[in-house]
C-alpha cells in the first residue's frame, strides 16, 4: 500500500528552449491528472536552456511518477525535486491598493515598510506595491492590505533554488541547426495547398 502523504512538491525542470515545450509540459500535467499550483519559466545561465519552477500538489508517490513522466518528454533535460532539501523560494507580487485619502496612503506606506516591500507607483488614489518573498510573506501583506481595497494583484508564482554551492548542472545543448538559406522567401515556393 502506498501511504497517502498530501504535500506540495517543487520541481526545477530544465528544458530545451524550443517552440511547444511549455505545451508539452502542461499537457503532461493535464493528461496525468496533476494540478499545477504555479509554473514559472525563464532563461538560464546556458543559452538554449529554459528553467521552470513547478509547484504541484502531490504525495511522494505521485511526485516520483511525475518526475519519471517528465523525463519521458524528449525536450526535458533535467528534473530536480527540491522539496525535501534546503532551498530558497521566492515569489514576486505587484499589488495595486486603493488610497482614497492621504491618511490611508500613510498607513499603507507604513505597512509596506514593515514588510520590506516597495512602492513602485503612486497615483492620486492608488499605489502599486512590489514585494518579493515567500508565499507566506506575500499572503501576510495581502491580508493587512485587504481592508484598504486591493484593486489589482499579480503574482509570479514560486521560483526556487537549492542552497549551497550544489548546482543542478546541465549539459549545454547543441547549438541550433544552421539555416544557410531563407526558404520562406524562395520565389519558387507556392503557399497554396
Amino acid at each position: 500500500m502506498v501511504e497517502y502523504s498530501p504535500m506540495r512538491h517543487t520541481f526545477v525542470v530544465y528544458v530545451e528552449d524550443k517552440p511547444g515545450v511549455l505545451n508539452r509540459i502542461a499537457s503532461l500535467f493535464r493528461r496525468r491528472a496533476f494540478n499545477i499550483e504555479s509554473l514559472t519559466v525563464g532563461h538560464t545561465e546556458t543559452a538554449g536552456v529554459s528553467r521552470m519552477t513547478i509547484l504541484v500538489e502531490s504525495d511522494t508517490h505521485g511526485a516520483r511518477r511525475l518526475e519519471a513522466n517528465l523525463y519521458k518528454l524528449v525536450n526535458v533535460l533535467r528534473v530536480h525535486d527540491i522539496t525535501s532539501g534546503p532551498a530558497v523560494y521566492r515569489e514576486l507580487a505587484m499589488i495595486k491598493v486603493s488610497t482614497e485619502s492621504a491618511d490611508t496612503r500613510t498607513h499603507v506606506m507604513q505597512l509596506v515598510d514593515v514588510f520590506r516591500a516597495r512602492v513602485v507607483d503612486v497615483a492620486p488614489v492608488s499605489v502599486i506595491i512590489e514585494t518579493t518573498g515567500t508565499e507566506d510573506k506575500i499572503d501576510g501583506l495581502l491580508e493587512v492590505l485587504r481592508p484598504y481595497g486591493i484593486l489589482e494583484l499579480v503574482r509570479t508564482g514560486r521560483v526556487g533554488m537549492v542552497r549551497g554551492s550544489e548546482s543542478v548542472m546541465v549539459e549545454p545543448p547543441e547549438p541550433p541547426r544552421s539555416r544557410s538559406t531563407t526558404p520562406t522567401d524562395d520565389e519558387s515556393v507556392s503557399y497554396s495547398v
Binding site: M1, V2, V15, E16, P19, G20, N23, R24, S27, R31, H61, R64, R65, A68, N69, Y71, K72, L73, V74, N75, V76, L77, R78, E171, P173, E174, R177, S178, R179, S180, T181, P183, T184, D186, S188, V189, S190, Y191, S192, V193
Partner: protein, 573 residues
C-alpha cells in the same frame, strides 16, 4: 554533381538512408511535393483506402519485422484520420513514423484549407512529434524521428512538414551519427545492488512466476528469458502482447494471464511468492483489483520505461533498463534450481487438459469460434502470423492458437482498436512476404476497415481472412449478458455477405457454417495463391470464459457454466 535537393527529395533520400523500402500512405494537397519526388526513389508505396489503415499497416509492419513502419498522409483530414492508429501504436509501444504534409508556413495558424494543428492534436499520443517548416531541418528530423521511434520504449513519432519546406531547396547534409537529443535517455541501467537484490529474491523464492510482456519481444529477449526460467525452473505467464515471447508448448509455459487468462494461470499468480514482471506494465486487464493482486508475492519489475515502475503495482525491486541487457547480467547470479513442488501444484490446478481439449469434443452441429481458431492453429502448425481485431475472437485466438514464435501474434492490446486486423495484416505481410498471414476478425471490427480489401487486391497480396461472424458485437454483448441483464443495446449486427463482398473486390470468398467444413475450407484457402476471405458463421451467443470482471479480484472469475455449449466434459451432444 550538385547536392542541392528539394525538401521533398530529402524526405525520401532520408527514409531510404534509414533503410525504409515500404511506406503506407494516401496523397493530398499539402504532401503533393513529396509524392511527386517519391517516383524517383526505390520505395514501395502502398496506397491505402483510409489513413487510419496506413498507420495500422505501418504498425503491423513494425510488429512483424521489428523495424520502424512508415505512414504518410496529407494535412488536415489526412492527418487526423491517423489519430487512432497513432494512439494504438502509442499504447502498444510500436515504432512507427508518420509523415504528414502541412499547409505552407505562412498559412500556418490562419485556418487555411485542410489545416489542422496536427502536432497539437497528436501531442499526447505520440512519443514525440515535430513541426518542420525549414528545409534544412527535414533530414536531421527524420533521422531523429526514426531513432526516437525505435530506441528505448518504442512508440509513434509524427513529423509534420510544411508544403514550402518540401518545395524549398538546400544542400543535403546527411550525418547519421548526429542526433541532437540532449534530454533523451533510452539507455538506463539498474545498479549492481538492484541486480543482487533481484537475484537474492529469485534464489530464495519457492513459488515464482515470470510475467512476460511485450518488452520481451521488443528487446529480443526470448532466448534469455528461456535460459533463465530453464535454469531456475520458473513457470511463465504471458500478457496478451507477450504471447510468442515464450514457446506455447514449452513445459514451463502457463499461458495468458489476466481477464481472460486460464484459471490456473491467475491462480498461480495469486499464490506466487515472487513475480518477475519482465517488460509488462501491470495493466488493469492483467491485475484485476490491484489491492488483492498477488498478495503474497514479492515483485521484481524490469522495464525500459522508468515511468512504469511502481505505477500500478508497488514492487520490491524496480529495474529500469533494456530487458536483454538486464537478463545478461542477472543470469549468472541466479542459481540453478528445481522447483518441483510448486510446478506440480500448478499442474494440479491445471487438472486434466485432455478433457478440455475442444478437439476431443464430438461435433454437436454447432460451429464455435474456438474450433475454427484451433483448426487454423493445427493446420498452420502454429507458425502463421495471426493478426487479430478486438473482441471475443481476439481472446479466443489467445486461448486457442498456440504461438511458438515471437512476432507471430499481432493484436491491438492497450488501446483495443477495432478495425486494426485487416490493415495491420497488410503491413505484416509486406514485412514478411514469405510468411503465412491470417487475419482473424469479428464481423464488427472487420467492417470498420474492410475497404482495405481493395488495397490487398491492388497490391496483389496473399492474406487469409477468417471472419468470426456471430451477428453481434460479441464482446460488448457478453458484457451486456453479464453486467446489463442481457439488454442487448445496439449489439445485434447486420453484415453484408462477406464472401460476395470479397468477390466484388476481385478476391475469393467462402462461407462456412458447419464444423465439418472448417478444415477443407482453411486448407483450400492456404493453397490458393490469392487472398481468400472466409465468413465463419459461428454460434451467436457464445461467451469467452473464464472472465475476471473489470476491477474484480483475479481469483474471482466467471467460469463456463457446466451446461453451456463447450463444456469441460466429452459427452456434449
Amino acid at each position: 554533381m550538385s547536392s542541392m535537393r528539394t525538401g521533398a527529395q530529402i524526405i525520401w533520400e532520408s527514409l531510404v538512408r534509414e533503410g525504409v523500402d515500404t511506406v503506407f500512405g494516401y496523397p493530398g494537397g499539402a504532401i503533393l511535393p513529396a509524392y511527386d519526388a517519391m517516383l524517383d526513389y526505390p520505395v514501395r508505396h502502398v496506397l491505402v483506402r483510409h489513413e487510419q489503415g496506413a498507420t495500422h499497416m505501418a504498425d503491423g509492419y513494425a510488429r512483424a519485422s521489428g523495424k520502424v513502419g512508415v505512414a504518410i498522409a496529407t494535412s488536415g483530414p489526412g492527418a487526423t484520420n491517423m489519430v487512432t492508429g497513432i494512439a494504438t501504436a502509442m499504447l502498444d509501444s510500436s515504432p512507427i513514423v508518420c509523415i504528414t504534409g502541412q499547409v505552407g508556413s505562412k498559412l500556418v495558424g490562419s485556418d487555411a484549407f485542410q489545416e489542422t494543428d496536427v502536432t497539437g492534436v497528436t501531442l499526447p499520443i505520440t512519443k514525440h512529434n515535430y513541426l518542420v517548416s525549414h528545409v534544412e531541418d527535414i533530414a536531421p528530423v527524420i533521422h531523429e524521428a526514426m531513432y526516437v521511434a525505435k530506441s528505448g520504449r518504442p512508440g509513434p513519432v509524427l513529423v509534420d512538414i510544411t508544403k514550402d519546406a518540401q518545395q524549398s531547396s538546400t544542400e543535403l547534409q546527411w550525418d547519421p551519427s548526429c542526433v541532437r537529443l540532449p534530454g533523451y535517455r533510452p539507455d538506463l541501467s539498474p545498479s549492481d545492488e538492484e541486480y543482487q537484490r533481484a537475484a537474492d529474491l529469485i534464489n530464495g523464492s519457492k513459488r515464482p512466476v515470470l510475467l512476460a510482456g511485450h518488452g520481451v519481444l521488443l528487446s529480443d529477449a526470448m532466448g534469455l528469458v528461456r535460459k533463465l526460467v530453464e535454469k531456475a525452473d520458473i513457470p511463465v505467464a504471458m500478457t496478451l502482447l507477450g504471447i510468442g515471447g515464450f514457446p506455447a508448448l514449452h513445459p514451463l509455459n502457463l499461458g495468458m494471464m489476466g481477464m481472460h487468462g486460464e484459471a490456473w494461470v491467475n491462480q498461480a499468480i495469486q499464490e506466487a511468492d515472487l513475480l518477475l514482471a519482465f517488460g509488462m506494465r501491470f495493466d488493469d486487464r492483467v491485475t484485476g483489483n490491484v489491492k488483492t493482486y498477488a498478495p503474497n508475492a514479492r515483485k521484481i519489475h524490469v522495464d525500459i520505461d522508468p515511468a512504469e515502475l511502481n505505477k500500478n503495482v508497488k514492487v520490491d525491486v524496480a529495474m529500469a533498463g533494456d530487458l536483454s541487457m538486464v537478463l545478461e547480467s542477472l543470469l549468472s547470479r541466479v542459481e540453478t534450481g528445481r522447483r518441483l513442488p510448486w510446478l506440480s501444484s500448478i499442474f494440479e490446478m491445471k487438472g486434466n487438459v485432455a478433457v478440455r481439449d475442444i478437439q476431443n469434443l464430438p461435433d454437436s452441429g454447432h460451429l464455435y469460434a474456438a474450433h475454427v481458431i484451433n483448426d487454423i492453429w493445427r493446420l498452420t502448425d502454429g507458425k502463421a502470423i495471426v493478426v487479430t481485431d478486438v473482441g471475443q475472437h481476439q481472446m479466443w485466438e489467445a486461448q486457442y492458437y498456440h504461438h511458438e514464435e515471437p512476432r507471430t501474434l499481432i493484436t491491438s492490446g492497450g488501446l483495443g482498436t477495432m478495425g486494426f486486423a485487416l490493415p495491420a495484416a497488410i503491413g505484416a505481410k509486406l514485412a514478411c512476404p514469405d510468411k503465412e498471414v491470417w487475419v482473424i476478425a469479428g464481423d464488427g471490427g472487420f467492417q470498420m476497415t474492410m475497404a482495405e480489401l481493395a488495397t490487398i487486391a491492388q497490391e496483389k497480396l496473399k492474406i487469409n481472412v477468417a471472419i468470426i461472424n456471430n451477428g453481434y458485437l460479441g464482446m460488448v454483448r457478453q458484457w451486456q449478458e453479464f453486467f446489463y441483464e442481457r439488454r442487448y443495446a445496439a449489439t445485434p449486427l447486420l453484415s453484408p455477405d462477406f464472401a460476395k463482398l470479397a468477390q466484388c473486390f476481385g478476391l475469393r470468398g467462402e462461407t462456412v457454417e458447419t464444423r465439418a467444413a472448417v478444415v477443407p475450407t482453411v486448407e483450400a484457402a492456404r493453397a490458393d495463391d490469392g487472398t481468400v476471405v472466409i465468413d465463419f458463421k459461428v454460434e451467436q451467443e457464445d461467451t469467452v470464459y473464464p472472465m475476471v470482471p473489470a476491477g474484480a479480484d483475479l481469483q474471482d472469475m466467471i467460469r463456463r457454466p457446466s451446461m453451456a455449449p463447450i463444456v469441460e466434459t466429452a459427452d456434449d451432444e
